[in-house]
């Protein structure tokens, strides 16, 4: 394997992306969340007080958010894309937890070494492809329906493109072997001795750093973008579920 020597600018950018950018990411994200909350708090409350019915709310969240019942009724292709997209998100988030030592390959060893290897090294590649293909579908669908059935706001595209780029970079990490730069240990200290991110043996591949920079940009962008529906999209169906219970005789 050839050992690649990074130039000083790249070295600076890469160190910045894992040592300094996380602080900026957290600050910008918190400011974004604060602005969102202030925006909602400054609006008048509703006339009608809807008493949340836990059973109905949970039922609607499961049916509409987890199973995408309404999308199934309307557009089966979109339902499949949404299901695969969100399923792959769940898989990818779970996979990333291994990098933070929440779980390890040994968890799957009980089912045999081959199975563990498949779960940790092979399956994530397929999941990555699914994730990318579904995003390309969303982007293409949006472009095709633009000014016919929908009017996008700039942030609809920015959010999708940013997510797609970071996903491609993430997949690149798996498909293109590291350039052979010796791994480095970085520490990101949010709260000394309490919240410290030990980014051990960072794979010094370009794909990794592009991925981590784009991911942080994505996280910063979430509270300002339509991706806010990751959180609010659970609240609105829960309210609607309780409301329906009130309406239906």
């Amino acid at each position: 394997m050839n050992v690649v020597t990074m130039n000083s600018l790249l070295q600076f950018i890469y160190a910045f992306s894992v040592e300094k950018l996380p602080y900026i990411t957290v600050i910008v994200t918190l400011i974004g969340v604060a602005l969102r909350v202030m925006r909602w708090r400054s609006s008048p409350p509703d006339h009608e007080k809807i008493r949340l019915d836990p059973v109905e709310s949970v039922k609607y969240v499961i049916l509409d958010v987890v199973l995408f019942r309404k999308t199934w009724r309307t557009d089966k292709v979109m339902w499949l894309a949404l299901f695969l997209f969100h399923g792959s998100v769940a898989g990818i988030v779970f996979g990333h937890l291994r990098g933070f030592h929440v779980w390890s390959i040994h968890m799957f060893e009980a089912f045999g070494h081959a199975f563990a290897e498949f779960m940790v090294h092979t399956l994530p590649i397929y999941v990555g492809y699914v994730f990318i293909v579904t995003q390309v579908y969303f982007l293409a669908r949006r472009l095709m329906l633009e000014n016919k059935q929908l009017t996008s706001m700039p942030n609809d595209y920015v959010a999708l493109v940013l997510l797609l780029l970071k996903s491609v970079a993430g997949q690149g990490m798996r498909l293109v072997p590291p350039e052979g730069v010796p791994a480095t240990l970085y520490n990101v200290v949010f709260i000394p001795r309490f919240v410290v991110l030990h980014l051990e043996t960072i794979p010094n591949s370009h794909w990794f750093h592009v991925h981590i920079i784009l991911t942080q940009l994505f996280i910063m962008y979430v509270p300002f973008s339509k991706f806010i529906h990751m959180f609010t999209g659970v609240i609105t169906p829960a309210i609607y579920g309780s409301r329906r219970k009130m309406i239906d005789r």
Partner: protein, 409 residues
């Protein structure tokens, strides 16, 4: 002019409630609501799509209430912006079908009513709707008819008389579209006949009945709606009424869901749609009807089913009148609007007729002899569709069908 508009716009856009801002912010502009929207389905104009309305509304909201837009963006709202919002808001039947297709469950009926309120504040309400509001103010009904003509249907239908009592157990709230539109006079006759048949202690309010306020709410005039709510509830409560029956899906929805909000309290009576009352009579055996062998298809009025939650009662009532009632492809909570709602007739009658023609055609294709509904606005739309577009099918209200089976009509 522009400065004045912008001053008004900030306050007016600030009327979006906390939940509504949350909904506007959550809307992913996915367009899943679009194909389900009856207005968009006919016009194919993107501005009529619910998701586009949401985008137009949130852009205007951001101009006045988004921290970053106010710092770095264009914050001016023009008259063209208001026209665009108005065009979008009024090419809508307010049927709430987008609510049932939205993956996030946005309560769009309320959201679009709020948008209309903002349009009204900014002077963008269509002229025909403004005229309708003026007639409401003058004559307490949206048709500009004299209040003393409210009981003319009694003479026209040949009913001997209707009771106007000081005190009664039950009140029949006729509703403007039933009282003043000839196509619906038989609906009032049918309900009155059934109330007489079961010897109910009932009354009408006569001239004392004012519009329920639905047209005011649908055009963003909450103030007038509150005035009517106060009057009607006072008129009914002063008669010691325990139960209010109405054959109008719009009146029913407003009495049940809007009056408590407008008045800040629950009225001291129960509100029932006539189909619920009929169902109860049939289920208890107080009323017996002869079944018909005609093929009957039932259309759910949006304000009664999706927005009012009454879906099974009309079907249960119908099961006493016909053995195998037919169903539309889209029915119940997912019903496709007939086009008769949301004041669409005042803004774009051609669109209304296009929507209703589709529904009539489907009823014919299903093999129905009779199309029944439970809302005077639906019946009016269907009869207009039959007349204007030449679709041959009998159109009845469910209560008219019941009166026919009773031999009263």
């Amino acid at each position: 002019m522009t400065a004045e508009l912008n001053d008004k716009a900030k306050a007016s856009l600030g009327k979006f409630t906390r939940r509504q801002v949350l909904e506007l912010d959550t809307c992913a502009h996915c367009a899943l609501c679009t194909e389900n929207c009856p207005a968009y389905h006919e016009s194919r104009d993107p501005l009529h799509a619910p998701g586009v309305r949401s985008a137009v509304a949130v852009k205007l909201y951001d101009k006045k209430h988004n921290f970053l837009t106010r710092l770095f963006g264009n914050t001016e709202i023009t008259e063209e912006d208001v026209e665009r919002l108005s065009e979008s808001a009024y090419h809508c039947t307010l049927c709430g079908r987008c609510m049932e297709s939205c993956p996030f469950g946005f309560q769009t009926h309320e959201l679009w009513c709020r948008v209309r309120e903002i349009v009204a504040d900014l002077g963008g309400t269509p002229q025909n709707v403004v005229r309708l509001g003026n007639m409401l103010e003058e004559s307490m009904n949206p048709y500009g008819m004299d209040p003393d003509e409210r009981l003319d249907w009694v003479d026209y239908t040949g009913l001997d008389e209707v009771p106007e009592k000081e005190q009664a157990e039950v009140a029949y709230f006729v509703g403007c579209t039933t009282a003043f539109k000839g196509a619906n006079h038989d609906v009032a006759f049918s309900i009155a006949s059934i109330l007489d048949e079961v010897e109910e202690d009932w009354t009408v309010l006569g001239e004392d009945e004012w519009c329920c306020g639905n047209p005011s709410l649908l055009s963003g005039d909450e103030h007038t709606a509150r005035e009517y709510a106060l009057h009607n509830v006072e008129a009914l409560e002063s008669r010691g009424v325990k139960k209010v029956i109405t054959g109008c899906a719009g009146c029913y929805r407003v009495f049940r869901f809007e009056y408590p909000k407008l008045l800040g309290r629950e009225p001291n009576f129960e509100i029932l749609h006539a189909v619920e009352y009929l169902r109860d009579l049939l289920a208890s055996g107080r009323l017996k009807l002869e079944a018909t062998d005609e093929k009957v298809i039932y259309h759910d009025p949006c304000e009664l089913s999706r927005l009012g939650g009454v879906i099974e009662a009309p079907r249960e009532a119908l099961s006493h009148m016909t053995e195998e009632p037919l169903e539309f492809e889209d029915h119940g909570i997912n019903v496709k609007c007939c086009g008769g709602g949301g004041l669409l007739q005042a803004v774009d009658n051609e669109m209304r007729l296009d929507i209703v023609t589709e529904r009539l055609t489907e009823a014919k294709e299903k093999g129905a002899d009779v199309l029944v509904s439970a809302c005077p606005a639906c019946k009016l739309a269907f009869t207009d569709g039959v007349r204007e577009r030449g679709v041959k099918i009998e159109v009845l209200d469910l209560l008219e069908l019941a009166a026919k089976r009773l031999g009263a009509l």
